[in-house]
């Protein structure tokens, strides 16, 4: 019984330390505000999702056409709108980030690790 009480107390202390760790590590932080995506970054994330969606759809369409799953007629009907969709997303991304010179299609050259 005594050992159990001691062990239970020790367990509780360890848990309290673990829970208090963020405050113990940074008793007086420069800022305690959660860094969240701002409106611009959220808009950019949506555009990136649209771009990736369009590029992935194009890739799948190309492969399905190559395998014969998609006929020539269906391919011709779909490839145009999909390319336009991808191009629109890429243009929007470039407009959305003036002054950057990276490759919008891969994300390379974009600011990295601002939030670390």
């Amino acid at each position: 019984m005594t050992i159990a009480v001691v062990l239970a107390a020790a367990l509780a202390v360890v848990c309290v330390i673990l829970v208090a760790l963020p405050f113990l590590r940074e008793p007086d932080p420069e800022t305690d505000v959660l860094d969240e995506l701002d409106e611009g970054e959220r808009r950019r994330l949506e555009l990136l999702e649209s771009r990736d969606r369009a590029l992935s759809a194009l890739k799948e369409l190309e492969f399905d056409h190559r395998t014969g799953t998609i006929t020539d007629d269906d391919y011709r009907e779909q490839v145009g709108p999909l390319r336009r969709e991808a191009a629109t997303a890429l243009q929007s991304l470039q407009r959305d980030t003036p002054g950057t010179h990276g490759d919008a299609s891969t994300g390379e050259g974009r600011p990295v690790g601002r939030r670390t």
């Binding site: 305690d32 959660l34 269906d74 939030r115």
Partner: protein, 664 residues
């Protein structure tokens, strides 16, 4: 050390409550350190639950009958493996396992995603914590596994039907599935609460959902095999409420895994996907409620308890809060795109979703109907097998057909001409199969014939997809055919792993159709030396023996089996009389033909004092394809779950582009 176990669970309850309150406050007020503190509390809750679980496990292994739970579920004579399985064999232990898996999954999901999707995780933590508060409250205040008593000389033992190797894996897998569905639920609600309704919650939870879904699927098949070899009634699925309890969330999760592709590819069905996740999680809670409350009469429900009202209240709150959040975020959940054509892949997936959901709701109605009828009319009316079989045929057969159509139709819209081209060969294969089976005499069961024909259609589309894909990869530069095949699989594990899972469903459909629509049965009371004939087999009853094992007396009737001129050896069927538990179980005899997949299944229904035995014998064609389907399902799930480096790179690049850290 029951005191330490109790204390550990009280600390878990405290930590979960802290994670809920502090997590919600941190998310609402935007406080970074408080949010991290709440995340740490969730991780600490896993550690304290693990301590409690280890104490219970140690008590089981030491046969410490001062623990009421240990005395009620085990005995000195119980083999060690089943002593371990007693952890989840009783109510309190299984609730503790729920909590252990929940906190483990919560800690892991938060840990893995807390940089990559941290603005979302802040809201996910209180959702996880809320579920953990409920389960830790249950094991602290309502159904504690650490209540003690004056130790009796021996325990009450374990229900004989649970003393089976399948019970070592079947319940934990179901729990992995049930609890695993908490992850997509917590992320979906986190996304709704935070308003971060981009694709990240889907990406973060895709593999968790797949893992939960695969565990539920495998768990159910193991349960079916357990019922087949252990329960001894001649079948593997009885539409029992507890069996249905695992099937319903699996169907909802299957619908979600398909409809999520429409959101990823086309940005559609965002409300629908959130609703499916809520449904799957609510059904997993409902399943636990059915299994653990004793509210339904089931061969799989081993307990009557007082936890029912708590569960019902929690399910009610969960559904109400979740639907309220969906309603609140409806404007943000509206899809930017619309269905362009009823003949398209997204339309096929939508039809698949509607059929899956219809089947799920039909089963749900069948499960709750006895409870409702008892509440309204004072008499529980149970909907029998014919009710479920009817809906399985009405919704299941079109689902089977759609499984072949959906993946081969173009996204957005497909022309009729392309449909004719694409489905020409599979249709010919299906028709040829149907005609051949008719000629061979399979027309005695129309649903069985239709199931075989549709299975042939789906099988042909799968083979065609693999053949075409491999050929295309070879043309794109693969050096060899095996290399082209490997490249095909590795470049799109989700798609081709999905086809392997579809192949397993085809095997399952063939197995179910064969063993249920085309089986045969014979019954007879035989004295020694007498024989019985069925499906070309001749069984001669030879002898009756009795032997003693550690915890049971085994009585076995031995039968010689022949087919035509071939001697197929002997089969044993009988009963086990468990001394401590004072129960008797049926021990069936099964002879499997590995070439045809057929089983000869013998039950010794009644053994008379004069040595005569009343036998019931089944011949079940193709039943072994059901178990083979389990292996193929496991393979397909593993392929689909395997990490995809290309996808990881794309996601990292996307995260970096908005300034989120590159690591996940």
């Amino acid at each position: 050390m029951p005191e330490l176990g109790r204390a550990a669970l009280v600390v878990t309850l405290g930590l979960s409550t802290y994670a809920l309150v502090a997590g919600a406050a941190a998310a609402h007020l935007g406080r970074r350190r408080l949010a991290h503190s709440a995340q740490n509390a969730l991780i600490a809750a896993f550690l304290t639950t693990l301590v409690a679980s280890l104490i219970l496990l140690a008590a089981l292994l030491r046969h410490d009958f001062s623990f009421t739970y240990v005395a009620r579920t085990t005995s000195e004579a119980l083999p060690t493996a089943y002593t371990v399985s007693a952890f989840w064999g009783g109510q309190e232990g299984s609730l503790l396992l729920w909590l252990l898996v929940l906190t483990a999954f919560g800690a892991a999901a938060v840990r893995l995603n807390r940089t990559w999707a941290r603005d979302l995780i802040v809201w996910v933590v209180p959702v996880f914590a809320a579920v953990a508060v409920f389960f830790s409250f249950l094991v602290v205040a309502v159904a504690s596994p650490f209540t003690t008593q004056a130790p009796p000389p021996d325990g009450a033992g374990m229900t004989p039907s649970l003393q089976n190797p399948y019970m070592l894996a079947h319940p934990p897998l179901l729990y992995l599935g049930y609890v695993g569905l908490t992850v997509p639920f917590a992320f979906a609600l986190g996304a709704l609460l935070s308003g971060r309704l981009d694709e990240r919650w889907l990406v973060a939870t895709r593999r968790w959902t797949l893992l939960a879904w695969a565990a539920l699927g495998i768990g159910q098949l193991l349960g079916a095999h357990w019922a087949y070899v252990e329960v001894g009634w001649g079948g593997y699925y009885a539409w029992d409420p507890v069996e249905n309890a695992a099937l319903m969330p699996w169907l909802a999760a299957t619908a979600f895994l398909h409809s999520v592709m429409i959101q990823e590819k086309r940005g559609m069905l965002r409300v629908w996907n959130v609703l499916l996740v809520i449904l799957a999680f609510s059904l997993s809670l409902f399943g636990t409620f059915l299994t653990r409350s004793g509210v339904v009469n089931s061969i799989h429900s081993f307990t009557q308890s007082s936890i029912g009202p708590w569960f019902l209240a929690f399910i009610g709150v969960t559904v109400a809060v979740s639907l309220g959040l969906v309603f609140w975020r409806l404007p943000q959940l509206r899809s930017p795109t619309r269905l362009e054509s009823p003949i398209s892949r997204e339309a096929a997936f939508l039809y698949n979703n509607l059929l899956l959901l219809a089947l799920c709701l039909a089963i749900l109605w069948g499960v709750v109907y006895p409870m409702l009828s008892e509440a309204v009319r004072g008499e529980a009316v149970v909907l029998g097998r014919s009710y479920y079989d009817f809906f399985l045929r009405v919704f299941g057969l079109p689902l089977l057909l759609l499984m072949g159509i959906g993946p081969l139709v173009a996204w957005r819209r497909a022309s009729l001409r392309s449909l004719v081209t694409t489905f020409r060969w599979p249709t010919l294969v299906a028709l040829a199969t149907g005609v051949l089976l008719l000629v061979l005499g399979a027309g005695s069961s129309t649903p069985g014939l239709v199931a075989y024909t549709f299975s042939a259609f789906v099988g042909a589309t799968i083979v065609m997809e693999f053949a075409r894909g491999t050929r295309a990869r070879k043309a794109l530069g693969a050096t060899s055919w095996p290399g082209a095949f490997a490249s095909l699989m590795s470049r799109n594990r989700r798609r081709y792993g999905g086809y392997v899972v579809h192949a397993s469903i085809v095997l399952l459909a063939i197995g179910i159709a064969g063993s249920s629509a085309f089986d045969s049965v014979a019954e007879s009371k035989l004295a020694r030396g007498q024989s019985l004939e069925i499906g070309g087999y001749t069984l001669v009853y030879r002898s009756l023996d009795e032997r003693q094992t550690a915890n049971a007396t085994e009585i076995r009737a031995t039968l010689d089996v022949t087919r035509g001129d071939s001697d197929l050896g002997t089969l044993e069927a009988g009963k086990n009389a468990y001394t401590i538990e004072q129960q008797v179980s049926n021990e069936v005899g099964i002879r499997s033909d590995r070439l045809t997949g057929e089983d000869l299944f013998v039950i010794a229904e009644q053994i008379d004092p004069d040595g005569s035995v009343y036998f019931r014998v089944f011949v079940k064609p193709l039943v072994n394809l059901i178990w083979l389907a389990g292996l193929v399902f496991l393979l397909g799930s593993a392929i689909t779950l395997w990490p995809d480096r290309r996808e990881q790179r794309r996601l990292v690049a996307r995260a970096e582009a908005v300034g989120l850290p590159a690591t996940r």
